[in-house]
Amino acid sequence: MAGHIKQMIDSIIEQRSKGNATLALTTKTKLVLKGLNPDRFNAGSPDDPAGIAKVQAIAAELGVRV
């Protein structure tokens, strides 16, 4: 399977920004500063369990569910 991490990241950005473009960028910035660069994942990125766990932990810090 592939692409789950990309979906989770998109969901975090969508939930935090609620369609606000400025907030989408600041959320992306916060993710990069946490060590998770959304640009490094795409629909073909493997569903690495450690990567998924990392995204889940960051989602929890940001107060959203993925």
Partner: protein, 366 residues
């Protein structure tokens, strides 16, 4: 005038009275001040409270000050904001930065004051200032917690102490603190803008942090090789020459084409110690310096062209100040702000969404 500024180089006994005199009869809603390490921070806070008993009062120690376009040292600078700029304001303290940081109580204090949840606040009307003990090494953790808890923008800097690196202080409502941060939440009448400006561009060369010691802001390996060696190789210099390049070739986390600068402080064996954290797995661009004065002038001109600017606060990295001093360009830098009421200080780090280096984070009031 809705924004007034003042500065004094007098001794503590007279400096606060001097500021008060320059403020005039106005009763400001908010007073923000930055003071040289030559002033006892507790006494300065106490005297400022005596002079401005009704204002939301906040400040910190500095490593150089700027007011009305004058870059100074050994001074105290102040900004007075009235109701026409800030309709309401409150500050809260985050203590014990060396422990497990929690911003919960401080944010709850701000929410109680405004009788609104942070989530409900209009992001174009509310803006935060953050001033942090500049020797705490805790800025990344603080900014991350803040960014997790709220989408309200907080901008600010890390307190300095005239390059003594002994003790830096933040203050709120007459009390002075170390190992702490001050959060100030402002509800502004006509809006605000935040400018983040740094004078670097990417070289197109990258480094991947593959082994780090986050707590000590140290990168042990880039690209699975000793950090200093990998940095030197990418720049095409010897390991011995590499530290001399740190100042003009820091690293940047590139986000939407903009660098969030991470500045190397020193080599430690084959590792590199930075002025802010780099996490394992981060890919960073090697940057090259551009012109501080020209870049800042351009950034401020763009902000002014978009909206009229009533005043601004400049949190400027001490490394930028040192460079301007060395190049004897302080006057040129100051001239950018000649027609705007402004204050600022030379910081030990800048805050905007995270902790950054070699940057100016600037809050402009419309």
């Amino acid at each position: 005038m809705p924004v007034r500024t003042a500065y004094s180089t007098k001794d503590l006994a007279d400096a606060v009275d001097d500021l008060k005199k320059q403020c005039g009869a106005q009763k400001p809603r908010v007073v923000i001040y930055f003071g040289s390490a030559k002033y006892d921070p507790r006494e300065l806070s106490r005297r400022m409270r005596q002079c401005f008993p009704d204002a939301c009062l906040t400040g910190c120690s500095s490593a150089g000050e700027i007011a009305a376009g004058n870059m100074m040292s050994g001074s105290v600078v102040a900004m007075f904001l009235d109701d026409d700029i800030v309709e309401d304001a409150a500050c809260a303290v985050v203590e014990n930065l060396s422990g497990e940081i929690s911003v919960k109580d401080a944010l709850a204090t701000l929410e109680r004051h405004f009788q609104a949840t942070l989530a409900s606040m209009d992001l174009e009307k509310y803006v935060g200032l953050v001033m942090v003990d500049g020797l705490s090494g805790a800025e990344e953790r603080l900014m991350e917690k803040l960014g997790d808890a709220t989408d309200v923008f907080f901008v600010g800097g890390s307190a300095g102490d005239d390059l003594k690196f002994q003790s830096t202080h933040v203050s709120a409502d007459g009390q002075s603190y170390t190992n702490a941060a001050i959060l100030v939440l402002l509800r502004v009448k006509r809006g605000f803008e935040i400018v983040k400006t740094q004078s670097f561009q990417t070289t197109g060369k990258t480094l991947l942090a593959t082994k780090v010691d986050e707590a000590h802001r140290q990168v042990i390996e880039f690209n699975h090789r000793p950090a200093l060696q990998a940095y030197a190789e990418r720049l095409g210099v010897t390991v011995a020459e590499a530290p001399a390049r740190f100042f003009h070739n820091p690293l940047g986390l590139m986000i939407a084409g903009e660098p969030f600068v991470r500045s190397p402080q020193r080599a430690e064996g084959s590792a590199i110690v930075f002025y802010c954290q780099i996490k394992e797995g981060m890919e960073l661009d090697i940057l090259e310096a551009t012109d501080i004065v020209a870049d800042t002038r351009r950034a401020i001109a763009a902000a002014k062209a978009a909206h009229s600017t009533q005043g601004l606060i400049d949190f400027q990295c001490i490394l930028r100040t040192l460079q301007l001093r060395e190049e004897k360009r302080c006057e040129q830098y100051g001239s950018i702000f000649k027609d705007i009421p402004m204050i600022g200080f030379s910081t030990y780090g800048e805050e905007y969404l995270g902790h950054i280096n070699q940057t100016s984070t600037i809050l402009l009031f419309r």
